[in-house]
Structure formats: structure tokens, C-alpha cells
Amino acid sequence: MASLLDYATLRILWWLLLGVLLVGFAVTDGFDLGIAIWLPFLARNDAERRLVLNTYGPVWEGNQVWLVLGGGAIFAAWPLVYAVAFSGFYLAMFLVLCALILRPVAITYRSKHPAARWRTLWDWALFISGLVPALVFGVAVGNALLGVPFRFDGELRMTYEGGLLGLFRPFAVLAGLISVAMLAMHGAAYLAAKAASPVTERARAAASISAAVLVVLFAAAGWWAASLDGYRIAGALAHDAPSNPVGKQVIAVAGAWLDNYRALPWLAVVPALGFAGAVLAALALTLKWDKVAVFFSGLSVAGVVATAGVSMFPFILPSSLAPAMSLTVWDASSSRTTLVIMLVVTLIFMPIILLYTAFVYRVLRGRVSAQQIEGDSNSY
């Protein structure tokens, strides 16, 4: 394998794998984030709320690992991206982190004490823990599309010139809302398939409404992106260049984020998936094909997330302050050796992970009912 793959191919593979991990996170952990957002609204008493929590109670820990792995893979394969994004978005990351810490604690601890006020408190903690990451991750992607104010000195030390509030630019907020609508749709579709009545019916309605909102917002973002300043590499940049993001030429051009679709029109299939998945999910829900709806909702999530990546390729994190120092697929990766080793490890373990995850979902298949929760002292 080491001799078969050149550095440029490896970088493309790792760009694809990064996409796979982010989609994996959005699809699996998206269930949990979306459900948490709906928890106070779709479930109206304690029994219903416990029902909702136990639909994903046994799997949330595994789902969350997609995020941990996403972070680890960015660190290992795209260390410059990891360094710039995490320190640049410092306070936003801190907010996400608090929300993500709150989440496992809230779900584990909520039902371990019977007082109504205790439980209500954790219910709202769960709501926040679902909404904040969904919003902030979307806003972060929006900012990546707009370009982020960072630059490097000669020793590749990065400085970032912006703050927390600077992230909430109009287009970025739109991206954040897309993310919330998308995960709300996805979580509600999962609830429709896993929770017993009356949550099922409410979840179907909630998922369909979210799908409609997603379609409108996603279309608005596409229309906006057409006139937005995107980034384009001017001149040559070797695809196997050393990973040093200083010294290329980049220009900001209105509409440049549509370059890839102009060059390869079939790529339009990616955003189309985002739309079609949402529409088909809503359709399936009206027919009460709840599991089919989860499948289409997952496709929509994958389409939306992949659209951001495909539009920006080869950029991963453009700099608005010094466009020439933008991080791209060709100059922000790990060394070739590290990419090879990580690829081998991933190819061995990813199928195993998918296999036992599928096994666990199979063991836990079927709708969750109130009686089941009462009968099991481990229930959330």
C-alpha cells in the first residue's frame, strides 16, 4: 500500500475520510442532538420524557464517539486545521464543550432522582445540550465558507483576529439554522420510528415541519452562496507539496464556491441529495413508513454536510485575513507516513466498528414502550 499511494491521493482519501467521519457524527450523534432539542416539546409529562430518553439511551455513548474520533482524525491527519479551528473558535468551542459535557451527565442523572424540579432542570439542560452544539457547528461551517481571520508568522505560529460575537455573521447564522433544522428533522424522524404513541404522531409532524424548514433554508443558502465571495487558488500549487500553507496565491472571487459544480456538473447530485432526502423523509412520514423516513433523513444530512465540503474543495479553512495562507487539502495535512499508517488503521477498524454498532442497534431494535422502562431499573 505504501508504494501504491502517492501523497496527493492520500490527501484526497483523507479529505474523503474526514467527510465520512463528519457525516457519521451528524447522522448518529445527530439523532441525540435532535431528540434533545425536541424533548421539552414532544414529550409532555415525565413518563413521555423517559420514553423519549430511552429510545436513544443505550446508544448515545457510541454515537458521541463519532465526534471524539472526528476530533482525533482532524488532529492526526490535518493538524494545522485542528490547531487553527480549535484555537480560533476558542470561546465557541468552550460553549460546545460545556453543552457536550452537560449531555451525558444530564441523561445519566435525570431519572436517578424522582423530584419533579430535578427532572425538569435536567430536561432543559438536555435541550441546551442539543441546541448549542447543533447551532455552533453550523455557524462554524458557515464561517469556514466565509473565510476566517487568521494568519501565520514565519515559524507557523497562528494568530487569530476575531472574537466570539464576530462568528455570528448573517450567512454563518443561516448555516447554523440549517444545522439546527437538519438535526431537528433527523432526531424527530428517529423518535417517530422508536417511540411509542402518542410521541410517535407528534414526532412525525415535528420531523415533517423541520424537513420543510430545512429545504427552504438550504435553498436560501445556495442562492446566497452564488453571490458570496469564495476563494480560488491562483497559479500553481503542487498536490504533493510539503504541508506548509504559506506562500501560495489565493484570490477571493464572488461565486467561487460554485467553481467545482461548473467544472463537474454531476457534483450537483450532492446538494440535490440534501433536498431530496428531506422531501422523501417527509413523504415517508405521511405514509407512516417511519424507518424509511430515518433512512432518507440520514441521506439528507449526509447531502447537506457533504455540500459544504464539496463546494470548498480544495479549501478546508480559508483565511479572510491572509487568503494566501488558507488551509487546503494540498498544504495542511500530516506527513505522508502518518497518512499511510492512519489509513491502514482506519481501513482495519472502521468495518469492525460498523459491524458491532449494527449488532447493537439490532439487539435493541423495536419500539420502546413505557412498560419496558418501568421494568428495567437501568432505564434513563
Binding site: P58, P79, Y82, A85, M93, I107, P242, N244, I341
Partner: protein
């Protein structure tokens, strides 16, 4: 230049959040294996009380596990948020074990922990047991990978600086993987986790016996904890010695600081059991020394020297001067990558480049550093001697106490006298906090003893931080303190509540009863 306030605050935040995280990790490591052992006995004997034991300790495991997972996220994020230059400088090597940890370990433990709790009625007995073992395997594998990463920070092997990318890059992944520092740390750390789990079970069971509740349940739990704990406590000490030996080979300064060993002695060096290190005067007062012991432990020989701090500082001053040559060559290479003289200079002095970076604290013009600045930077390589000296001794003392306690518990359990001696139960109960104290001391010795480096000899701590303002770090630091304190209160409250409720919802399961058969 980074604000020194940012560096100090980031260190404080990382130290606090890491130590907080490690309140939960050792219990997860130890209890997961104890659960697997208890459930194995259940599957082999079919006795319901062992199932009840697995379930009761499992509930406490679950409360602890949630906090371990939650606070672990902070650790992964912080390398990027607070240590961005570190991340870009060594991410090529350091990121890989972290990612592999996710692939190989986190998925395993996080996926099967769900079935551990919710699979009792959905899986066969053996099927559930396999899940529990996979959960224990996952937690232990995660320790392996994070300690390979940490071992590399202590002893960076298999990597070299690439001047084209201005960072360290991997040259031998095999060396990173089989780094002796990482391997020694792994076995020492997981054994410490097993001791923690055993003390937890021992102390809670002692409390039950003192209250006269669930005697059969408590005695059985204690028997498991005593035998597993004794084996683990012995391993911690033996394997800790291995860790000390690798430090003596690879981190001589850390070892000298822990021993407050100022001057090189004629071999074999004596071991200072007790004394008062006096850092300004570079001496140790009232030292009680045992001849030969340090030389034997650290070098496993009678003729090898254990270098003292003052001698190591002199060596390091030399390495700084070599490093300056590498740094000068690097400046040339950045403008003219093909210059052959600069290349040769760089290649010959590359291992000392990190030492030249120490000068950046005193001057931006590293190549023009004065002899006084070099002297200052050389003395910066000495970590806090007195703090390390005492932390290490307390940790070791607690380690030996554990051996005594578990040996006694093992003896009493063999004689079926666990509930006969009140003083023993009181001692077991009051030993509750000790494994946490010794674990935290151990990490403190390891990481504070690594200073002034994040990567030993490669990258100084003060250069590793992100370029964020001190105010920003204050915000997150205060946020963590408030948030984590609140969570700690909730955690302790629930832990005590479930201990009070006791096994089987307050009704002691009958020892000989057969568990209910698999339903559905």
C-alpha cells in the same frame, strides 16, 4: 510572542481539568475489570448473588463512567484550543495515537456499555458476559493509546524536525508505538486503576459491614477486591519501579529532581529517604540517605552514575549552544532550502534544536544569546525540586500502604474473618480517598516533572500555547471551575444515594438462589 499570562493560565486549566478527569478514569479502569470478573463467576456458578453484585457495582460504574466520558472530551479539545502551536508542531506524531484510541478503544467501550446496562434481558448469559469483557477491554485499550501519546511527550522517539513544514514529523511509527516510556506508564497506570477499583469496592463493602447490612453480598465483594487488589497493588509498585528505570534512562533531569540529587555521586548512588530540599542553595538539608539504593533502582548496576542536577544543567548549557547552531542553520534553510552548509549544520545539531528554543523566553534573537542568557535557560531545565521530592514520596508511601491493607484483607478473607474486626473495617473505609490522592500525585510527578517542556527536549511549554488573550483563558477557566464543581456535587450526591440504597433495591439477594432465566 505569546502572553506569559496565557501560558500560565492554560497550564492551570489543563492541569485542573486533567486531574479532574482522572478522578473518574481509574475507577472506570478498575471497576470495569471487576465487573467482568464478578459476572464471569456468575456465569460459571449460576449463583444469583454474583449477578446482583455485577448489577449493583455496575450502577455505580455507570454514574462514574458518564463523568469520565464527559470530562474526557475537554482533554481532546484542549490540545487545539489552548495548545495550538503544540498541536501544529507535533500533531503529525501525537495526533495518531489519539485517533487510534478513538477507533480501537472508545468505540468499543462506548458501544458495549449500552448493552451492559440494557442487554440483560436481550442477550444470553454468555452473550452479556462477552459485552462486559469487551467494555473492560475497551477502557483498558484507551489507557494504552493515551499513554503511548503521553509517553512520547516524556521521551520523544521516532520523529525528526522537518524544516520545510516547520514541525516534527514521524520517522518511525514502530518506535513511537513501542516507546519504553509509554509501555512502562501504561502498565503502571492501569494497575493503579485496578487498585482504585478494588479500594472502592473494599471501602463501600466495609461500610455495609459496619452498618450490618448485606453481609453476604459485602463479604463476597470484599473477597474479590482483596485478591484482585493485592495483585494490582504489587504490580503498581513493581511497574512503578520500571517507570522509574525508564525515567533514569530517558529523563535524567526529572529523576534527579524527584530525588533532590544535586551532585553526581560516586556509584552506586545513595537514596534520600527524607530531607528538606533547599532550591536557592542547591542542597538538601537533614538528608537521611540509604547507601546504594538509588544506584541500584535507577541504573540496575553498581557502576553506573546517576547524574545530579548541577551536572545535568552544565550538560544542558552545552546542548543549548549546539541548538543555536541548528537554529541559525534553520533560519538560512527557510530562505534557501538547498544551501548545503546549512543543511549539514542543521542535520548535525537537530536533536538539540529544542534547547535553543528555551532562549526565546529571554531573547527574540536566539542566535545572539549572551552567555548569561544561556546560563539562565540551562537552569530553566530544572523542574520544581521540592514539590516533586515530596509528591513522589507521598505517592510511594500510599502505594506500600495498599500492599499491607490488601494483604491483610486477603488473609482475613481466607480465614473467613472479614466481618470480625471492626478496626479493619474502619481502616478499609477510611482508605477510600487514598487511591485518588496517589493517582493525582503520580500524574503530578510525571507532568510537572516534565517541565519546562511539553515535549521533553523538543518544545518548551511557554512556546506551545495558543495565541489567545489571557482574558479569554480566564473566561474558560472560571467557567470550568464553576461548572465542574457543580457536577462534582451532583456526582457525589448520586453516588452516595445509590450506595445507601444498596444492592437489590435494599433486599439482600439470597446466596444460593438461581438467577431468573433469560426473559424473551
Amino acid at each position: 510572542m505569546i502572553d506569559p499570562g496565557t501560558v500560565e493560565l492554560s497550564r492551570l486549566q489543563f492541569g485542573l481539568t486533567a486531574m479532574y478527569h482522572f478522578l473518574f478514569v481509574p475507577l472506570t479502569l478498575g471497576l470495569s475489570l471487576l465487573l467482568a470478573i464478578m459476572e464471569s463467576v456468575y456465569v460459571m456458578t449460576g449463583r444469583g448473588i454474583w449477578r446482583e453484585m455485577t448489577r449493583f457495582w455496575g450502577v455505580l460504574f455507570g454514574i462514574n463512567f458518564a463523568m469520565g466520558v464527559a470530562t474526557g472530551l475537554t482533554m481532546e479539545f484542549q490540545f487545539g484550543t489552548n495548545w495550538a502551536y503544540y498541536s501544529q508542531y507535533v500533531g503529525d506524531i501525537f495526533g495518531a495515537p489519539l485517533a487510534i484510541e478513538g477507533l480501537m478503544a472508545f468505540f468499543l467501550e462506548a458501544t458495549f456499555v449500552g448493552l451492559f446496562f440494557f442487554g440483560w434481558d436481550k442477550l444470553s448469559k454468555t452473550g452479556h458476559l462477552v459485552c462486559t469483557w469487551l467494555l473492560a477491554l475497551g477502557t483498558n485499550l484507551s489507557a494504552l493509546w493515551i499513554l503511548i501519546a503521553n509517553g512520547w511527550m516524556q521521551h520523544p522517539v521516532g520523529a525528526a524536525f522537518n524544516f520545510r513544514t516547520m514541525r516534527m514529523e514521524v520517522t518511525s511509527f514502530y518506535d513511537v508505538l513501542f516507546n519504553p516510556a509509554g509501555q512502562a506508564k501504561f502498565v503502571h497506570t492501569v494497575s493503579a486503576g485496578y487498585v482504585t477499583g478494588s479500594i472502592f469496592v473494599l471501602a463501600v463493602s466495609a461500610w455495609f459491614l459496619l452498618k450490618g447490612r448485606y453481609p453476604e453480598f459485602a463479604k463476597r465483594s470484599m473477597t474479590v477486591a482483596a485478591s484482585f487488589g493485592l495483585a494490582s497493588a504489587l504490580s503498581v509498585v513493581v511497574l512503578g519501579d520500571e517507570s522509574g528505570y525508564t525515567a533514569s534512562q530517558n529523563q535524567k533531569m526529572k529523576l534527579a529532581a524527584i530525588e533532590a540529587d544535586w551532585q553526581t555521586e560516586a556509584p552506586p548512588a545513595s537514596f534520600t529517604v527524607f530531607g528538606f530540599p533547599d532550591v536557592p542553595n542547591r542542597t538538601t538539608h537533614f538528608a537521611i540517605k540509604v547507601p546504594w539504593v538509588l544506584g541500584l533502582i535507577a541504573t540496575r548496576s553498581t557502576d553506573e552514575e546517576v547524574p545530579g542536577i548541577i551536572n545535568l544543567v552544565a550538560d544542558n548549557a552545552g546542548r543549548i549552544k549546539q541548538g543555536i547552531i541548528a537554529y541559525r542553520a534553520l533560519e538560512t534553510l527557510r530562505a534557501h532550502p538547498e544551501e548545503s552548509g546549512a543543511r549539514a549544520d542543521f542535520m548535525n545539531n537537530e536533536p538539540d534544536l529544542g534547547y535553543a528554543l528555551l532562549l526565546k523566553k529571554y531573547t527574540d534573537k536566539v542566535v545572539d544569546a549572551t552567555p548569561a542568557q544561556i546560563e539562565q535557560a540551562a537552569w530553566d531545565t530544572v523542574p520544581g525540586v521540592a514539590t516533586l521530592f515530596w509528591s513522589f514520596r507521598f505517592m510511594v508511601a500510599i502505594g506500600f500502604y495498599f500492599i499491607a491493607l490488601f494483604a491483610l484483607a486477603f488473609y482475613l478473607s481466607a480465614r473467613r474473618q472479614l466481618d470480625r474486626h471492626r478496626w479493619f473495617l474502619v481502616a478499609a473505609l477510611w482508605s477510600f480517598p487514598l487511591p485518588w490522592i496517589s493517582s493525582e500525585l503520580g500524574w503530578f510527578v510525571a507532568e510537572y516533572g516534565r517541565q519546562p517542556w511539553t515535549i521533553d527536549g523538543v518544545l518548551p511549554t511557554f512556546l506551545s500555547a495558543s495565541s489567545v488573550s489571557p482574558g479569554t483563558v480566564w473566561t474558560s477557566l472560571l467557567g470550568f471551575v464553576v461548572f465542574y464543581s457543580a457536577l462534582a456535587v451532583v456526582e457525589l450526591y448520586l453516588m452516595m444515594k445509590y450506595i445507601r440504597i444498596g444492592p437489590g433495591n435494599g433486599v439482600e439477594p439470597v446466596a444460593g438462589s438461581v438467577a431468573p432465566r433469560r426473559a424473551g
